[in-house]
């Protein structure tokens, strides 16, 4: 394989995952939390594809496609929830939405 070894891709994916998890924990707008979740999912996808290339097996790519489909479903539901919250005049702040807290 030309260019960097798979390990470099894995380190890049790890850094991206860290950035995404920081966004999920730090930001309070549910929209930005969803965007940061997308970064985390894509970092996982990069890892899957890197290992698929490393082992010469396409199953990793198939799994990455399944992750993409699940991410699309998650975005559809998440955005639906955010729009429903906005319509019911609930403040769009994940720190404020704690009605289900025990």
């Amino acid at each position: 394989m030309d260019g960097p070894d798979v390990g470099w891709y894995l380190i890049l994916a790890a850094i991206l995952f860290g950035i995404g998890s920081l966004g999920v924990m730090l930001r309070r707008s549910p929209l930005v939390v969803l965007l940061s979740l997308e970064i985390m999912l894509n970092a996982a996808n990069l890892t899957l594809i890197a290992f698929a290339r490393q082992h010469g097996s396409l199953s990793g790519q198939v799994f990455a496609l399944a992750v993409m489909a699940v991410a699309a479903a998650e975005v559809a539901i998440g955005l639906g929830l955010i729009v429903a919250m906005a319509r019911r005049r609930i403040v769009l702040d994940v720190d404020e939405a704690r009605a289900l807290r025990g």
Partner: protein, 176 residues
């Protein structure tokens, strides 16, 4: 020579990934965050191409950067794109804990990678030119991974129905 070119493309794509990722987390306006995520997905598609995952790179640009992000931008526009300062509000302890937890996660993964570096992460397998082409991926979907393929379709159907249910007007709740 070709090797140097691949390294340059890799470094550009990686720098683009990291810069747009930081931008998504740190920008105040959700609209700009969503735009930065499109850049992030595009540079990831370049990395997918370098890993000879051509079909996935195309799907990434079409499905993610195209369809999903357009949906995001529509919702941000619908909600008015309220500003949300990343470092404002919440107890400072919580913010510090978030940074520490994310850093701990990162350090753990990098340490594990460093420990495994010598064993399995060099000398990739030889693959044919059609590795990652739509034909090969599609064949696997219809043979080895048929069940996962069908379950994916059900997941998407459930998500579509759920989106419609969540999107209907909440008449009863307003009356109550």
């Amino acid at each position: 020579m070709g090797n140097v070119l691949v390294w340059i493309i890799w470094l550009l794509a990686a720098a683009g990934c990291l810069a747009t990722g930081v931008a998504v987390v740190s920008l105040t306006n959700p609209f700009y965050s969503a735009l930065a995520l499109i850049g992030n997905l595009a540079s990831l598609a370049v990395l997918f191409l370098l890993l000879s995952a051509e079909f996935l790179a195309a799907a990434q640009v079409l499905v993610y950067a195209g369809a999903v992000m357009v949906m995001f931008l529509f919702v941000v526009a619908y909600l008015g794109g309220r500003a949300d300062a990343p470092w404002a509000g919440g107890p400072p302890l919580l913010r510090t804990a978030a940074v520490v937890a994310a850093a701990a996660l990162l350090v753990e993964v990098v340490v594990v990678l460093g420990l495994a570096w010598g064993d399995n992460l060099t000398d990739p397998a030889d693959v044919s030119g059609s590795f990652g082409s739509p034909g090969e991926v599609g064949e696997l979907f219809l043979t080895d991974h048929l069940l996962a393929f069908e379950i994916t379709s059900i997941v998407l159907l459930v998500a579509a129905v759920g989106g419609v249910v969540l999107g209907t007007t909440p008449e009863k709740e307003d009356a109550a």
